[in-house]
């Protein structure tokens, strides 16, 4: 998968977008790229995946894998942002110690999002990083965030902030500099939502759709003949082994259902997003830890060439 310097990753809740982000970053770092993952979440997950303490700051922190991680949420990011407009540290400190002011920043919708995105643009321009991955929130909130530069540009026509917002909108619109990766499961509902999300993005946000990662693909390719043979064998032991027999038949139904549903999902993605790379990641049946899951997925992402679509 060819990714530009700035990659936004999102996906419906429960599709494994943070794990995929971590695996992509791990592969980038291991191929020698200076790699940073930015989280925009009050409840960080990268810290857990990379074994760092939870109270990660605005400044990128090195992990033992070479990936750097930073969290662009909360008042420290606001502090850094305010400092670009108000040189006096005393004034910004006073402001951030004021309960009414922090209440306003935290509760006025979009304020913290805008500040976090502004920080991403800063990070990108400082030349320290070859690859920056932004672990966006789940699709609903991510859409809000990705639209923000354009909506703010519309709302704020002039001034320094307008220039800063436009700077990010320009980066996002440049296919050589930024792309969006959408993580989905091959199941019916996530695929439907992913297709809706992608079409909204195409309509409303000026950013290249880099790839759709189809996570946790379950494959059990049995033909009709094999399916009925398994059923026959299980039924033959219905009396001697009633419970095992019932479980084998349940497993057969599950396996067939999963396989067929996932294949249907892949076909829908292929038909409706013909020019977007699809990268499939097999379902992981056994993991020692979350960290082990990242390793397994990183390994399958390394092996896998995009299935169809334009490179």
């Amino acid at each position: 998968m060819h990714l530009p310097p700035l990659t936004f990753v999102t996906g419906k809740g429960g599709t494994g977008k943070s794990i995929i982000t971590a695996a992509l970053a791990l592969n980038a770092a291991r191929s020698g790229q200076r790699t940073l993952v930015c989280e925009l979440d009050d409840h960080p997950t990268m810290t857990r995946l990379f074994g760092l303490p939870d109270d990660l700051g605005v400044e990128p922190t090195a992990t033992r894998d070479g990936v750097h991680v930073a969290n662009f949420r909360g008042m420290p990011v606001m502090q850094a942002f305010l400092r670009t407009f108000v040189p006096s540290r005393r004034v910004t400190d006073l402001l951030l110690r004021n309960r009414v002011a922090t209440t306003f920043f935290e509760s006025a919708p979009g304020v913290m999002d805008a500040v976090a995105l502004d920080r991403v643009a800063d990070i990108l321009s400082d030349g320290r990083w070859d690859r920056v991955f932004v672990d966006l929130p789940a699709t609903g909130h991510a859409l809000t965030l990705l639209r923000l530069p354009a909506s703010m540009a519309e709302m704020i026509g002039v001034g320094d902030l307008a220039a800063r917002v436009r700077r990010l909108a320009d980066i996002m619109a440049d296919p050589a500099r930024a792309a969006l990766v959408v993580v989905t499961l091959p199941e019916e509902m996530p695929v439907t939502e992913t297709l809706e999300f992608c079409s909204t993005i195409r309509r409303e946000v000026d950013i290249r759709l880099g790839a759709v990662v189809v996570n946790a693909l379950r494959r059990l390719p049995l033909d009709a003949d094999e399916r009925s043979r398994i059923d026959r064998i299980a039924r033959a032991t219905e009396e001697a082994q009633p419970q095992a027999s019932a479980r084998i038949r349940l497993a057969l139904r599950l396996g067939n259902f999963w396989h067929d549903e996932d294949q249907r999902g892949l076909i829908r993605l292929e038909e409706e997003l013909p020019s977007t790379d699809r990268i499939t990641v097999p379902f992981v049946y056994h993991k020692e830890s979350e960290r082990d899951l990242v390793e397994q997925i990183a390994a399958s992402l390394r092996q896998r060439e995009p299935e169809g679509g334009a490179a």
Binding site: K12, G13, V91, A162
Partner: protein
């Protein structure tokens, strides 16, 4: 399965006035909410299920074209004693309606204010605010005995409970005052005392331009009028959420990460003196055993070989089963013995109609699991 637990779930469905379903996304929260609502209706109650998720397939399974902002009756089997209505929250419509109802003559200018349009349409948090606003209306209408609320899919369900407080904060009198004209006139930077409002306004003017500040000012000025209503609502909603007839159902899966999230949520809620009444673990694969394949092939008496793909796959399914049994144990050992866990096995078919939804209710309520032991019970 002990009758105590079955009786408990039935009791929740029979007596609660509000059931709040919480949990992270991707664990079948919406489907479970619908299954609980269906069962309660079949037990004779007038039930409304309110979802945030635009799940078209679920709407179809309930025999509806799509779900809208107004409750719509679900066609139930003929012998049903109660009734079921379903709806999907439209945050924007709800917010607009609220403004129209409370702002009187000011309503048109608020609805046209650019800051409002952008805020309601594109900025985050609105869903949670509006879910609670709509909930209040429907809950207090008297049309339903029970409302089942499927909360917005957020990474952290705590955000949902925090919504009334954040809503109230947003319309904090002190914040709003910054933007009112009489205050702006003396908004010189750092007058005698430190005035954060003046600093914020000045900053906004520098970074956003005067035009932006005047629109913001207009927006807050107008919203001041609806604030009283917001505050009253916030207060009422907090009361409903804390009512003893409001029950909390946590929906997760037996995956370690989900279980840990569930336990964390339990602790956080306990700090706010909220308790979770029922834990539902979806997508469970706990049934499969390591020697199933061997037992079946050994005793089948046929010479037909088991297809290789299946023989290789089954042990992996057993690994999932072991993971899930461990996950259930992990949850069990983090709870008090009185807490109730129900397991719902992974679906082996799509949810096409009320029949499948009813089947899920069976796992939650009164039908024993088809095979295997039940690790949902304390050892």
């Amino acid at each position: 399965m002990s009758n105590g637990e079955t009786g408990f779930v039935a009791d929740v469905l029979d007596t609660a006035r509000l059931i709040v379903c919480i949990g992270t996304g991707g664990v079948g929260k919406t489907t479970t909410s619908a299954a609980l609502a269906l069962r309660a209706a079949q037990r004779g109650r007038r039930v409304l299920v309110m979802t945030i998720d635009p799940a078209k397939r679920l709407a179809n399974a309930m025999g509806l074209e799509a779900l809208g902002n107004e409750p719509e009756a679900v066609r139930m089997p003929p012998d049903t004693k109660g009734s079921l209505d379903a709806m999907m929250l439209d945050a924007r419509r709800t917010f607009d309606d609220l403004i129209r109802r409370t702002a009187g003559d000011e309503a048109p200018s608020i609805l046209e204010n650019r800051v409002y349009r952008l805020m309601v349409d594109r900025l985050s948090g609105t869903q949670e605010y509006m879910a609670l606003e709509r909930l209040y209306d429907l809950y207090s209408s008297g049309r339903w005995d029970l409302v089942v609320l499927d909360t917005p899919p957020s990474t952290n369900a705590l955000e949902f409970f925090d919504a009334p407080r954040r809503t109230a904060n947003m319309f904090d009198e002190r914040v709003m005052r910054w933007f009112l004209p009489e205050h702006r006139s003396d908004a010189g930077l750092l007058r005698r005392v430190f005035n954060p409002g003046a600093v914020v306004l000045r900053l906004l003017a520098i970074v956003g331009g005067e035009q932006f500040v005047s629109e913001l000012s207009e927006f807050f000025g107008a919203l001041r009028i609806v604030r009283a209503s917001f505050e009253e609502r916030g207060h009422e909603v907090r009361r409903i959420l804390g009512d003893r007839d409001t029950r909390y159902v946590l929906i997760a899966s037996p995956d370690t990460r989900r279980v840990d999230e569930a336990l964390l949520l339990r602790r956080k809620l306990a700090e706010e003196r909220r308790t979770i009444d029922l834990y539902i673990l979806n997508r469970s694969h706990h049934l499969f055993e390591a020697d199933d394949l061997e037992r079946v092939t050994r005793d089948s008496g046929t010479t037909e070989p088991m297809p290789g793909a299946f023989s290789r796959w089954y042990p992996r399914l057993v690994q999932l089963a072991e993971r899930d049994r461990a996950g259930v144990q992990r949850l069990r050992s983090g709870l008090s013995p009185r807490d109730v866990i129900r397991l719902v096995p992974a679906f082996d078919r799509p949810i096409h109609s009320l029949t499948e939804l009813q089947g899920i209710g069976g796992f939650l309520l009164d039908e024993p699991l088809p095979t295997g032991n039940d690790p949902g019970q304390p050892a």
